[in-house]
Structure formats: structure tokens, C-alpha cells
Symmetry: C2
Subunit: 347 residues, 2 copies
DNA sequence: ACCGCGGGTGTGACCGGTCACCTCCATGCG
DNA sequence: CGCATGGAGGTGACCGGTCACACCCGCGGT
């Protein structure tokens, strides 16, 4: 009725300008809260905005400004609890800052594929959060071209990151240290370790934390067992360890691994925590409800995601001073899978 | 050396054109594989593309074409296994089609918040996949403005969806039917049900499937117990059911719920499957490794995600005929939590 | 009365692509 | 030989915003 000649599709600032009887630039000023617009004019423009249901196109904004209010999270798996939590943290912070978040899954760790994925993510503009706990993620982080804002979510690094390529991490060295000490304090001679893939690096923070605890206690240092990411890998590793009667305490790189280990111990007839104690990392939601419930170290993945976004936000805009690391410290959660070692010579 | 005056930042088609000694339009033609470009010219352009590291800007493309090769997944939780798998399926299919995928988390089911989230997602253009298993998702699906391409991921609907607003689903009616029949066939008198929030609707497909199985077997029909989404809710529901000695079989709306129920039964001293049988939905990765391992119905969430994308892709472009539902049928996976009912009158 | 100044607006170019349309030239055919 | 045809390529406008700049006007100072 009152709308006569405006174009099909969503209204643009030109449409709004026409409706309000001003120039498109004035509309732009109103949208951006520029001070020098007369109140009466502002009112008219806002009324037109309301009436036409105008929404400023994110695409056009990105093109004109050169950056895109978008962060893309590159991850090897959306399904894994830790990764999914990081994604949630990023999304949460991004939403609060009116950013959009994209996801790219690194299907394989193959160099070319990863590089292609990084390029794709770069095409949309904005920043990148790379979850670099695993080989695919590490590759991706390396493949990010210079000049593209990126934050890596990594294990506790040995040396601080370069300024132009910040990292974010939880103190998993400390986490491993505490979990190991907890198990030792119960009376176990040593603590075996089932590793997630990233822990194969000799510099792995978790391995270092465990080593420190073992060293301080003058305990033997059995080499880590490779477990992969999921329960299946933990199960396989668990079967190996279950066969060795000297094994009484097992620390696992994550809760899923621990679950597999628990199953393997069960099948091998080694009661938990009667004979063997088990602890995990992450405190996934189901860990508290397992039978027996899982002793684990809670890691603040959501906070990690938020921190990653904050850093990126700081790099993309000249606001929000780069908040260092408002990530909660790891917290040991003692549950039923850890206890004093029982007599193992009996069976 | 050879590059003299081209602009800072990523190269544009104008830069490439200058380097190759052609017009920007020719570059555009080469990029888009337009036939009428002489091979020699094409070669020159491609060489320039290579040399300058040209990548076509997704933003500019979106602006010029009017649509943005992006799909945004709206979900209430990135952490939940089923949701995360759907996201992965969407991402997988999207990547194959050179689309980007965004995520929006519906933090609350509050109408205004959800509407705002939908608008935000709409701002980036492209299509929407809304995971509408829960109240927040259902609200979001309703709040999507007409004209915006959207696909809902829903429970088996009572009536087929409208053409312009397609849905995608697994046959969870059949899934519930099969799981219930399985439990009945073991000799249980009836099957109790711990529901996920969406199942409160009287028209819920899962509830209908279970009802049908119970009806066919002339079994009593105890009302569903509300469980929520996570293990905590399952635990609470499980405690209630555990107190009733007549309860010998419990079907749960998802594996996390089942986990909580198992824990509650354990604490109540009711052995599984000795006294009570339990089954879940989803077949989450850890379910096979629980002790006892969980009988469940595997649902093809990833396929669901891929199907959702395919539908959206069909709506966004005039290609890829709308493949109806290449989603795998639910598959009953019988494990250790289900067995014949034992003597319950003893304790 | 003249100038400078600053608030309130409008105009043109630009971001990096695409699309519609035009030109130029080498053919083929009547 | 003249002309329609189609391949190869170029030009201008446009998508929906932003930015740099010019304009107009009222005001205060001299």
C-alpha cells in the first residue's frame, strides 16, 4: 500500500533512504550512530528502517570494510567432547561480540587436504581458531598464511608463542602433575599413561607433568602407551596393560580413552578400583555417571574457546585489550575409579 | 621484480588482469571456466593467478551473486553427541559442495532470544539448518522468515512437511518400535520410557512407536518419565523407576539418559541386566564400552546432516535434484544391558 | 559585511566480484 | 564480394555497504 517502488528482496540502505527522504549516507550514519545527525532526521530514518524491516547486509559490510566479523574454527572432530566444548566457548564469545562462527572439519591430516581446508576458511575472511591438539590441527596451524589472524588452541607449550600468532591453552602440565600425584599418594608404585595422539611429542606437556610427579616420587617411568582418541583405542591399550600384573594405576589422555581402558580391565577380570586405579582428562558429562564413576581432571574447554575468541577479537579490532588467559585452572575431580592398590599378587 | 604496482593485500581479479595483460572480465571468464577464452590467453591468466596467489573473495562473490554459499546450523548444543554428529554431516556435505558452514547456538528457548539468533544467522545469507528436536529448535524453526531457505531436522513428523520448508528425519518411530519389541521379546511385561524433552508432545514419534509395540503385545502402557537431555536427568528419572519393583525394562530417549538410569539402578542395587534391562537411542561412541555395554538403536545422524544439506543445496541452486532421504534406517544394536527378566519378587 | 568554523547532508568512488551488452575479427555461405 | 554468424574479448553498471570529500547554512568574531 504505502510501499510503492522499492526493489524485491531485503531492503537496502537506498530503499530506506528513499522512504525517509534522505540520502543513503545519512542512513549509514544513523545505523552507525554517527553523532552529527539531527534527532528529527534520525527518527525518520529509524522509522523507515523499522517499517521496511531493514537489516544491514553482513556481506556488503564485509566487502566494504575489508574484514568480515567472522571467526572460523578448524577442528578434526566436532563430536569429541573437548573439541565440541571449545567450539561452544568460541561461539558463545563470538555471539556476544556479534560475530559469526564457521566450522571446518579437518578430515585427514594429509598435508594437501589440510592446506586446502585452511585456504577455504581464509576465503571467508575474518579470523581463525585452530584446535591443534592433534596432527591435523598442528598441520593446519602451520599452514595458515602469514597475515591471517589466527589463534591456536594447543597443549601447554614449552616456549611462549610469537606475538603475531598467539596461542591459548589450559595448564595440562599441571593437570597431569596433579592427577599423577593423586594416584601416587594412594600408594601406587607408578602411574602408567595412555596417550592421546598429540602426546607422542617428547615435549608434550602432559607427559612432562606426569614425569615430574614420578621423578619427585622416585617412581619408575614406564613409557606411554599410544591410545588414539576414542574408547576403541583406549580399549586396545587397556588390554595390553591389563595383562601386566604390575600395572595398578593408569592415567588416560581423555575420558573416552579411560572408558575403553575400564572396559578392558573389566574383561581381563581386574577390578577397578580394587586392583587397578584409572583416571582421565576432561571431565566429560557422562564421566560422573559411569559405574564406577571416573576420577578425572576437569579442563575448562569452554573458557579456552572464549579466550581464543577474545584474543582474535583483539587482533581484528582496535578494542578489547587482549585479555591474557581467563581460563580456569584444571581441577582434579576424585571419584570412584581411583583408590588404594589392593593385593595384586593374588590373581 | 616483475610485480610493480599492484595493491597491498590479497590480489584481486584486476591485479591478475593487469599482470596477464587482459581485462578483468577475461580473468572472470577463466575462473568460471567460460568456454570462449583462447587457450593461450587462459594459460597466461592462470599463470598470473598462480604467481599472485589469487583467490576469489567469497565475500565479493556473495555480494555480486546475491547468495552466499553458506549454510548455518542452528542448534541448542554443540556438545551433545547427536547434535554434533548432525553438524558433522552437514559440514561434510557442505565441504564437498564448496560451501562454508556456520554454527549458531540457541542458548535459551526464550522467544525473543531465538528470534534474534535466527535473524543473525539470516544476515550472513545462504541457507539454514535448524535442529528442532528441542523446544529452542522448534521455536527457531518457526521464527525463520518466509523466503529464507531452511531445512528442519525433526522427529518423524505426523504429516509430511510443506514443500517450501522441507524437513529431514530418521525413522525414530520405527526405532522405538523395534527397541520396545526387542525388550518385550525377552519376556518383559512392559517397557518404561524415559523421555527427551521433545517427546513430551503427544504426537511424539518415539512414544507412538513404543505405544504401538506395547499395544500389539497387549502390554500395560506406563506413562513416559521426563528425563531431559543429559545423564543427570536420566539419573533422576532412574531413581524414581528403580524404586518400583515392577519395572524390569527401561527404554531411554538417548544414550546419555540411559547412562544416568544405569547409574541410578546400580545405586539402588538393581542389577542390569539381571533384574532390569535398559536400552537407549543414538549409539554414541562410548556406549559399546560401558560396563555393561549398552543396548541401543543406532541412528544415522551424520546421514541426516548430509541429507539436510542436500535439500538445502537443491533449494539454493538449480542443480542436484532433491534427493529424498538417503538416511540409513535405525538399527537395533543388542548388547549387554538387555536380557531376560530375572525373579523380581525376591528383593 | 566578511571570514572561519563546524554541524548536518549529499555526491562520487571504491571494495571485488558478476552480468548484460558491445565491439572486433575471422569464418562460411549465398 | 557482401553479409550473417559466432568466437574472443572489453566496457559499464551493479550488488550494498563504507569512506573521503564537497556543499550549504547559521553562527560568532573582527
Amino acid at each position: 500500500m504505502e510501499v510503492t517502488g522499492h526493489t524485491r528482496g531485503p531492503a537496502s540502505i537506498r530503499d530506506v533512504a528513499a522512504a525517509a527522504g534522505v540520502s543513503y549516507q545519512t542512513v549509514s550514519r544513523v545505523i552507525n550512530a554517527h553523532p552529527s545527525v539531527r534527532p528529527a532526521t534520525r527518527e525518520r530514518v529509524l522509522a523507515a528502517v523499522e517499517e521496511l524491516g531493514f537489516r544491514r547486509s553482513a556481506t556488503a559490510l564485509a566487502l566494504a570494510r575489508g574484514r568480515s566479523r567472522t571467526v572460523t574454527v578448524l577442528t578434526a572432530d566436532t563430536t569429541h567432547y573437548g573439541y565440541a566444548s571449545i567450539l561452544r566457548g568460541v561461539e558463545e564469545a563470538a555471539r556476544a561480540a556479534a560475530y559469526s562462527v564457521g566450522v571446518g572439519v579437518l578430515e585427514s591430516a594429509d598435508e594437501a587436504t589440510v592446506a586446502a581446508e585452511v585456504r577455504r576458511a581464509a576465503d571467508v575472511g575474518g579470523g581463525l581458531v585452530v584446535i591443534a591438539y592433534d596432527p591435523a590441527g598442528v598441520r593446519a596451524l602451520e599452514a595458515v598464511p602469514a597475515g591471517l589472524p589466527v589463534v591456536g588452541v594447543v597443549e601447554t607449550p614449552a616456549s611462549p608463542p610469537a606475538d603475531d600468532r598467539p596461542w591459548v591453552w589450559t595448564d595440562d602440565r599441571e593437570a597431569a602433575y596433579r592427577a599423577t600425584r593423586h594416584l601416587l599418594s594412594l600408594g601406587h608404585e607408578t602411574v602408567h599413561y595412555v596417550a592421546i595422539p598429540s602426546d607422542t611429542r617428547p615435549a608434550s606437556a602432559r607427559i612432562a607433568g606426569r614425569r615430574q610427579a614420578l621423578t619427585e616420587a622416585d617412581a619408575p617411568q614406564p613409557p606411554p602407551v599410544q591410545g588414539g582418541w576414542g574408547p576403541a583405542g583406549g580399549y586396545a591399550a587397556g588390554l595390553k596393560l591389563a595383562g601386566d600384573p604390575s600395572v595398578t594405576a593408569i592415567l588416560c589422555g581423555n575420558d573416552d580413552l579411560a572408558l575403553g581402558v575400564l572396559r578392558a580391565l573389566h574383561e581381563a577380570g581386574r577390578p577397578v578400583p580394587g586392583e587397578v586405579s584409572v583416571a582421565g582428562f576432561d571431565d566429560a558429562p557422562h564421566s560422573a555417571y559411569l559405574t564406577p564413576s571416573l576420577t578425572t581432571v576437569r579442563l575448562d574447554f569452554t573458557g579456552l574457546g572464549r579466550a581464543a575468541f577474545a584474543l582474535l577479537h583483539g587482533a581484528l579490532e582496535e578494542s578489547a585489550p587482549i585479555t591474557p588467559h581467563p581460563v580456569s585452572a584444571p581441577e582434579l575431580v576424585v571419584r570412584e575409579t581411583s583408590g588404594r592398590p589392593g593385593p595384586t599378587d593374588g590373581g
